[in-house]
Symmetry: C4
Subunit: 277 residues, 4 copies
């Protein structure tokens, strides 16, 4: 009887922890989410401060302590997640599971192995979890609209990116032939890197054409890059305008079949032919 | 009796000054606005000229005199504003009140304290007042349309900026790990600065990747930056197109069929042929 | 009698030359336009070649002869224009009249005055005449559509430019204060130049922030510049889409009042209420 | 009899090879396409690796063997194409025919002539064939939509490019006059190159204005470039939105009221409530 109660208690505890950690409906769940967010941001600020020599030389002792406190907090959270989740392996090998592990592993490994301490910066990947946490805020609808529009234009964007990649490979190869090693175009991958820097209008200037022919071809590349930046913009604008239109049309609901995706000027329902009010 | 008249006179004077300084309905108010605009622009030109060594070495005496004339004019304006306004404290701690104070304070402080004379350049913040003055021109409607469209897309823009910030933190951290201190990525904040310079396609070239892996990841960042510049453009285009549509259409509603999407110059409803009012 | 005939002949000759030079309806007029276009382009190529030291050192003699041939041809054209036009002064002080004069004046002046020969390059301004010549081609409709859309969005673009200029003045002044002369921000005009280079995402890198605070503020400027590039794009996209829509709607013509600017879904004419077919 | 059979066999073999090489309906044709794609990508990877000194110094022997294997495979493919095609000369002088020849010619020529080995990189042009191969995939519809929108806006884009070219020639010439040879603007073509680098917001920084007047004019160029990037974007956005609209709507026409702007999934006309076919 006592054992059963104990088991019951354990299960309900696990369930409660699950609710707190994985969900955000309860008050405790929300507090946990906000707390986790703050700890993640703190951990990133600590990593940033450690990377600045001036600060690290003065406060490395305190930063190390803070770093280990966060490592321990993250470790507790990680093991709690494994314990309370129904399918632990599925969590461990999920996207967020791997990131959660990567956030604590380097700290422990650095105790035993001679790996550099700087590897700890990959902990910043945990920042991605804020997307999960923020899924529950008032901005989530906007984020969803943006990601839906991007997803719908995925095929067009892929075709565009494919054309861009083909273009930069050919342009990079040509420029390697024209400018050559003496002008900074030391090999084809580097020339392709230059072509990307130019086509995207970034233009570092670490590599830039020197020969007249090279400068002429570069000019063409720039004008092409300047003109085709319009392509993704056009694609995504249309998707946004489409999604914003369907947003607009939701106002009328057919009294007969409850369809709510009507045209702006619709008088009759396009699904059942019933008159709309 | 005389005292009363005096008070009356004083109050009506204060009211008149209030109308001149804070409003723009009267002729005197308009002249004051234009005069203030000219003085603000003059003060900025003087600050600019003072900053150019060549000019300052030759004409510093005259520039200093002009600077003090403007300081005194601004001071008179500032005290008049405090005197004539109903709630002086509210003005003093308002946005424009603080800027108005900042425009004169450094000049007086530099007389007693050993602060640099160059601090006077913050006077250029007063340029913001032109937005207030121009609120009354024929362009104000256009400005309102633009700011309305921007305000309506605020939520989407914030989500986008949030995603950008997360992205540049992670990218900056990764590049700090890959390139390291010897290649200019001296610390994480600087690497994040680099990521922003790259993603926004500015590309100064003061820091640029040197290792092949770093150049490969940079190329990805650039292509991402090139593609996602389409997102804010799409968002704002849709907002502009929505506001321009509602501009054209929403004023008239057909009394017969309730259609409200009429042309700008419509006299009859294009759906039922009924006369519009 | 003979004198009269002579005058008649002279007048008809002037009229004929006028038709050839100023109009493009006749065959001779078209040939003149194409010939002028070719000479203008030749003159620009000669100027370009002269500016290249390598070529000028070898062929300066031939280039000088070609330059003078073009100067003489331009001079003949200029005087013919003055003779045949009805109001010579109006032509001389018109935009194209001044450019036409500027294209020949430096050559003659350089014979008597010790002005540099390089001033002749302002002849390239005559390239603007191609816009006039091309007004008669099949592309003129497209050019008109683009310029109409730009003209219609002029007010919005001006408001936008005004906001940009205010922004770069304030940003430039702030950065002059933060970075100072030792970091390349030698004076305020130069700092404003830097702000424009950054905000427009050009990013030469000739001046770039060095202090952490300067780099932080630069990052903000870049993100602002990256986001607000969407504003002119949105403005112009909407104008293009509006002009392309009115293009679409021309298909239906009201049989009663001949109005041809109907809505896409119009059943009745919005001007006279007549049923459309 | 035997000869006839032989000829029959030969012809049917040629037909079969034709189907495999030029078409993609059969299973063998698809396998050939995928195989060709892999070999082209391999050949480009080999060229890239050869260009990297570090790798070439170590593995040049193996890379040379791989290069010749690919040359032989490409040669066999090229001769098969000539043999099986009906009009060999038309293939040889077609766009893809010339590229196919250019991919093998340098290898053979380098055996007899003292041309540099590096010329082999023009083989990367064969990458263009992927566009042909991918014409058969599920992305081809998207690619077609993009290229149709670009083709429809061709006239507008050409007018825009023409205006850009005129602008950069005039700006380049002016800057050559203002900045001069001592500031990197060594000749007019180079100044035009600078104008393109600036107007397209690439901004390498290899040439940048030094004089105050030059920096002032550059600032104007940048703001112009920043504003007019909106023009191609607007043009293409409108084209995309038009093609996406016609995609949705133009298939069904209501048999009752002739309305043709129906929703994608419409069963009944939204204007008159009639059943659509």
């Amino acid at each position: 009887m006592r054992l059963e109660n104990d088991l019951d208690y354990k299960m309900s505890l696990a369930k409660k922890i699950y609710e707190i950690i994985f969900e955000a409906d309860t008050k405790a769940g929300k507090i946990f989410d906000i707390g986790l967010l703050l700890i993640i941001i703190s951990s990133i600020i600590i990593i940033m401060l450690e990377s600045v020599d001036y600060i690290n030389n003065r406060y490395s002792y305190y930063l190390l302590i803070l770093e280990w406190i966060i490592t321990i907090l993250f470790s507790i959270e990680y093991f709690l997640r494994i314990i309370v989740v129904k399918k632990p392996l599925r969590y461990i090998f999920s996207f967020y599971g791997i990131i959660d592990l990567l956030a604590i592993l380097p700290s422990y490994l650095s105790l035993f192995l001679p790996i550099g301490h700087s590897i700890i910066v990959i902990r910043s990947l945990r920042l991605l979890r804020v997307f999960r946490i923020l899924r529950l805020t008032k901005y989530s609808k906007e984020a969803e609209l943006i990601s839906k529009a991007l997803l719908r234009s995925k095929a067009k964007i892929l075709v565009f990116l494919f054309a861009i990649i083909t273009l930069v490979i050919i342009l990079g190869t040509m420029m390697f032939l024209i400018e050559g090693k003496q002008n900074g175009f030391t090999n084809i991958p580097k020339s392709i890197y230059w072509a990307i820097v130019t086509l995207t209008t970034v233009g570092y200037g670490d590599i830039s054409p020197v020969t007249p022919l090279g400068q002429f071809i570069s000019s063409l590349v720039m004008i092409i890059g300047y003109a085709i930046i319009a392509v993704p913009t056009g694609i995504i604008s249309v998707e946004f305008s489409r999604s914003s239109k369907s947003e607009l049309n939701n106002t009328q609901v057919c009294p007969n079949c409850m369809n709510d995706m009507h045209n702006e000027h619709a008088i009759y329902c396009h699904r059942c032919g019933n008159l709309l009010n």
